[in-house]
Symmetry: C2
C-alpha cells in the first residue's frame, strides 16, 4: 500500500441499498491538489469497474495512475486549481471494504456473505468520504464507464452534491447486450472449479475463468475497426507448441493472451462478480418510474456527455439518451461524440481526443482565483 | 439417421490442404428436387459452422430443416425447378467424417489426431459429392456465413464449378474481432477440465465449456438493437434460487440459458474446434497474394452478395468488400444490404427479408423449362 492512499472507516452499520448492511466499512481514496478556503474546488472521479483510487501519480506515489495524462499540474483536470478526489469503490479490493475483506462480525472474509452491491451503495459510501473531507458541494463529478452510473446515482440521490457532471462512455442503465456480456463473464468465473462457490483457496484463485472473462472484456472494450487496422490477419510469432493447435496463430490471439496474463491475479474474483452485477442493476428510471422522472431530480448547473462512435458496450445511442435527458433539466449541457476507433477504452488510451474536451469544460468555468489563495 | 440422409465414401487417401490426409472419407448429404437431363439445374448449399445437411424437410424426413422456409416447392430455392444439394461439411459430426469419426487405420476416433481442417478441405470434399452426383457445373452455389467462405474456396479452386454464386453474411476472410471471438470460444471448451485435451469421456463431454461458447456465439450472432427492443430491462420470471445471486435476474440471461440448454450436447466439441479454427484460417488473398488476385481467378456469370446492417461477426464492410471484388470480375453482380435487426442470424430467422432477394435472383435466371421435363 502506497503512502498516497488514505483511508477512512465509518463506524457503525452502513445500510445497503437492496438489503442488509455492512459493519464499519473502510473506504480507500487518494487526493491531489488543495481544497480552497471556500471548499468549492473539489472534483470527484468515479472509476470504472476495475481501477483503484490511484488515478494519477503524486510525490507520495510516483507510479503512474490509470488516468495519468488527464489529472495533474497543467493537465485538463488541473491539480493546481482543483482538489481532486478518487475513491476505490465499495465492493472493490484496493483498500475499500468488499467481499475480499474481513467481516468484523465473524473475523473471516465476507466472500459471498457480502450483501448484494449496487451502484447506489458505491455512491453513498463515496459521498461519506466527500463529507468526511469537509466538502458539502463538489465543483464537478466525473464518471467514467460504470463510474458514470455511480455518479448519476449520487446526483439523483443528493441533488445538491455537485454543481456539474461529466459523463464519459456511460449510460442511464445497462441494456441487454452489455448485461449478456457481463453475465457471461461472471459465469466464466463461476464455472471455474477453483472458484468453489466463492470459497477459492488463498493463492489458488479461479484464474482460468478470470482470464476468459478478461479476454471477453477486451473484445468488448475495444473495437473491430481498431483491431482490423492494428492486427489485420497478421500471424503471431510465438506459435510453436503442438497443444496450440487451435490458438495463437493470429496476432490478435497473442495480444489477448498478453492482456489476460497481465490482469490475472490483480483483481479479486468475488469483488469482480459483485461490481459487475452492480453495473447491471443500476437504472436511473427506478427514481420515479421513468428516465424522465429520474433526470428531473437532478440539479446541475452544467453537464457534459462524451461518447465514442465505436463503443459497443456503452454505445452512442446511450450517450445521446444521457445528453438528451440532461438537456431537459440543465440548459448548459454539451454532448461530444468522439470519432475514436478504440471503442469503450478510448477514454483510457486515446488521450489526445479526450484531453481537449475535458480541458474546455474546466477552463470555461474556473473557480474564483481569489479563493485559490487560501 | 433419417432416410433422407444419403452418404458416399470416397475410397483412398483424401489429401488435406494444409498437411496430411484422411483415409476414405464419408460425406453425408441430402438432395431435393430432380436433376434435369442437361444436369444444369443443380444448386449447392454450403452451410454455416454447425448445421447438418438437413436444410429442409422432405417426404423421407418431414422434420423441419435449418432453412425450411427458403428451400422447397414454390419457395425461393424452388425444388420444383432446381436439384438442391446440401452436404454436411467435412470435419462436422452429422454423418460426414470428422474428429468424432473412427479412424479406419486405428479403429479409434480421430479426436485431435484429425489433421488441421481448412475450408479448402470442406470445398474439395463437397465437390467430390457434386461430381459423384454426375454434375460438372452447378447452376448456383449458395453459401451462408462460414459456408460463403467454403463456397469461395470452391469457386477460386474450380472456376468452372458454378455459373453463379450467392454469398450471404460471409466474407473474403475473417478479421480480428471474429477471430478473437472464435478463439475465445475454443478456449472456453479447451479450458473445461472435462475436455481432457480432446479425449473427453463418452457421455461426459465438456458441456460447461460448450455452453459458455454457445452463449458467446449468440451474443455475436444477434444484435444489441434486437435485444434492446426484445428484452430491454425486463426481469426473468424464474429468478429464485439463492445460488443465482449473480445470474438470471434479467430476461436476456434466461434467454441465453435456454439457448445453451438446447444446443448443449448436440455438437461434438472437437468437431466444433476444428470447424471454428477452419473459419479463421480461410483467406481468399492466399490465392495469388492479394484479394484482387483471388477474385481474378473466379469465373462467374452472376453473383449476389447479401449483408445485414446489424451483423457484427461478418460486418457490412466485409459484404461491401465481397461485392466490390465480385463486380470487378463479374459484371452481373448485385449487392443487397438488408436492414434486419437480428444481426448475423438474420438469414436463419428473418425470412421475410431474405426470401424476396433470393427469389428474385433465381426468378431472373430460370433453367430452360424444356430441360426440366427429363
Amino acid at each position: 500500500m502506497s503512502l498516497a492512499r488514505k483511508s477512512v472507516t465509518f463506524d457503525g452499520q452502513f445500510r445497503m441499498h437492496r438489503a442488509g448492511f455492512i459493519e464499519s466499512p473502510t473506504l480507500a481514496y487518494e487526493t491531489w491538489g488543495a481544497l480552497n478556503a471556500a471548499k468549492d474546488n473539489a472534483v470527484l472521479i468515479f472509476t470504472g469497474l476495475s481501477p483503484s483510487a490511484h488515478a494519477t501519480s503524486s510525490a507520495e506515489d510516483p507510479t503512474p495512475g490509470w488516468w495519468e495524462d488527464m489529472i495533474g499540474s497543467g493537465l485538463p483536470i488541473d491539480t493546481d486549481r482543483y482538489f481532486v478526489i478518487c475513491v476505490n469503490s465499495l465492493g472493490s479490493c484496493f483498500g475499500s471494504t468488499g467481499p475480499a475483506s474481513e467481516n468484523p462480525g465473524t473475523g473471516k472474509p465476507y466472500r459471498l456473505s457480502f450483501p448484494i452491491l449496487t451502484l447506489e451503495d458505491v455512491a453513498e459510501s463515496t459521498w461519506l468520504v466527500v463529507k468526511h473531507l469537509g466538502i458539502d458541494c463538489l465543483h464537478a463529478v466525473v464518471g467514467c464507464s460504470m463510474g458514470g452510473m455511480s455518479g448519476l446515482a449520487l446526483c439523483v440521490r443528493h441533488p445538491e452534491s455537485t454543481r456539474s457532471f461529466i459523463s464519459i462512455s456511460s449510460a442511464t442503465r445497462a441494456m441487454p447486450f452489455s448485461i449478456a456480456v457481463r453475465s457471461l463473464q461472471r459465469e466464466m468465473i463461476r464455472s471455474d472449479p477453483k472458484w468453489r462457490k466463492g470459497n477459492y483457496r488463498v493463492g489458488d484463485p479461479p484464474t482460468t475463468g478470470q482470464r476468459l472473462a478478461r479476454k471477453l472484456g477486451m473484445i468488448t472494450y475495444r473495437s473491430a475497426e481498431e483491431w482490423a487496422q492494428r492486427f489485420g490477419r497478421e500471424r503471431s510469432t510465438n506459435h510453436a507448441r503442438i497443444e496450440d493447435m487451435f490458438v495463437a496463430e493470429f496476432a490478435v490471439e497473442s495480444y489477448l493472451e498478453n492482456v489476460a496474463n497481465k490482469f490475472s491475479g490483480a483483481f479479486d474474483p468475488n469483488c469482480y462478480l459483485y461490481l459487475s452485477h452492480a453495473s447491471d442493476l443500476f437504472d436511473l428510471a427506478e427514481y420515479g418510474g421513468s428516465l424522465k422522472s429520474g433526470f428531473s431530480r437532478l440539479n446541475l448547473e452544467r453537464s457534459l456527455v462524451i461518447g465514442v462512435r465505436t463503443d459497443i458496450l456503452f454505445p452512442l445511442e446511450q450517450q445521446q439518451e444521457l445528453a438528451s435527458g440532461f438537456s431537459e433539466v440543465c440548459e448548459d449541457t454539451t454532448f461530444v461524440e468522439l470519432d475514436c476507433i478504440r471503442g469503450h477504452d478510448s477514454f483510457l488510451v486515446d488521450m489526445d481526443a479526450f484531453r481537449p474536451v475535458i480541458c474546455e469544460f474546466f477552463d470555461a468555468c474556473p473557480p474564483a482565483k481569489a479563493a485559490l489563495a487560501k
